[in-house]
């Protein structure tokens, strides 16, 4: 048997999908309306999944009293009500697709001390979701 705990967090941010290596026309073709020069925004929902032994003294994989402030500081405060392209250094030269955002959120959370980060799922809208899991192939670049 294996137990995991998943907690949902939310932030709102804007972005523009535009690759410097592509021409204006190629950008419009590849990214469609996401390439609109003034950008646009989403209410992002981040589901953070942790695994590990359930501590018999507390009944917990991780204490939400520790996890919530950690995620607030590492992710919510960093991204909430920001322009991802302009205000997040990691996206200065990287397209802030939600795939890339997922990897960045994973990188920011993977050092949580009390349990193992297993998965980060980001719902960009109720129709689009992206997941990154800790697998051997992912470890190399997380």
């Amino acid at each position: 048997m294996r137990v995991s705990l998943t907690r949902r967090y939310k932030f709102a941010a804007s972005h523009r999908l535009h690759a410097a290596s592509l021409s204006e026309e190629e950008n419009r073709r590849v990214y469609g309306k996401c390439n609109n020069p003034y950008g646009h925004g989403h209410n992002y929902e981040v589901l953070v999944t942790l695994t590990g032994p359930v501590d018999p003294a507390t009944g917990m994989i991780a204490n939400l009293g520790e996890l919530d402030p950690f995620v607030e500081k590492q992710v919510v405060e960093v991204f909430d009500h920001k322009n991802l392209n302009e205000e997040i250094p990691e996206f200065r030269d990287k397209v802030p697709t939600t795939e890339n955002l997922c990897a960045e959120v994973f990188r920011r959370l993977k050092n949580f001390e009390s349990a193992t980060l297993e998965r980060v799922r980001i719902e960009e809208t109720s129709k689009n979701s992206f997941e990154m899991t800790m697998e051997p192939s992912a470890k190399a670049w997380a």
Partner: protein, 138 residues
């Protein structure tokens, strides 16, 4: 392999308190979940069964049968109950989402004789859930 999932809801109260800790430690570790009078949640339980559809019925497991198991084993036992005091399987345990999901897994496991119990997902709220799986990848 096909996975089928059935959802049920129940409401229950609980308190997080470990008698091995001092009153102060209990407050520090469990925060408002240590409020002595307890508090409650609307739980949502999703139970997933994995298996091959029976060629005669097209079903992994008759969902009506699963519904009856969930009603008898979980809802009748936990709905509108205090998890600490009225559910013997949780006696002496802190009724966290993790522990309640584990107890639910153990209660259901012997009753799933067609297909295989694949996952128990217990939502304590829309923003928090625990998964119990049979092992391997969650």
């Amino acid at each position: 392999m096909i996975r089928i999932t059935r959802k049920v809801e129940f409401s229950a109260s609980h308190i997080y308190h470990n008698p091995a800790f001092s009153a102060e430690e209990n407050r520090r570790i469990f925060g408002k979940c240590n409020n002595p009078h307890g508090h409650g949640h609307n739980y949502t339980l999703e139970v997933t069964i994995a298996g091959e559809p029976d060629p005669n019925t097209g079903m992994v497991l008759d969902l009506k049968e699963l519904k009856e198991i969930l009603q008898k084993e979980i809802v009748d036992r936990m709905d509108h109950r205090h998890l600490n005091y009225e559910v013997p399987e949780l006696a002496g345990k802190i009724p966290t989402c993790e522990n309640v999901a584990l107890v639910i897994w153990n209660l259901l496991k012997p009753h799933i004789t067609t297909g295989k119990l694949d996952r128990v997902r217990l939502y304590e709220s829309a923003d928090l859930y625990a998964d119990v799986t049979g092992g391997g990848q969650a």
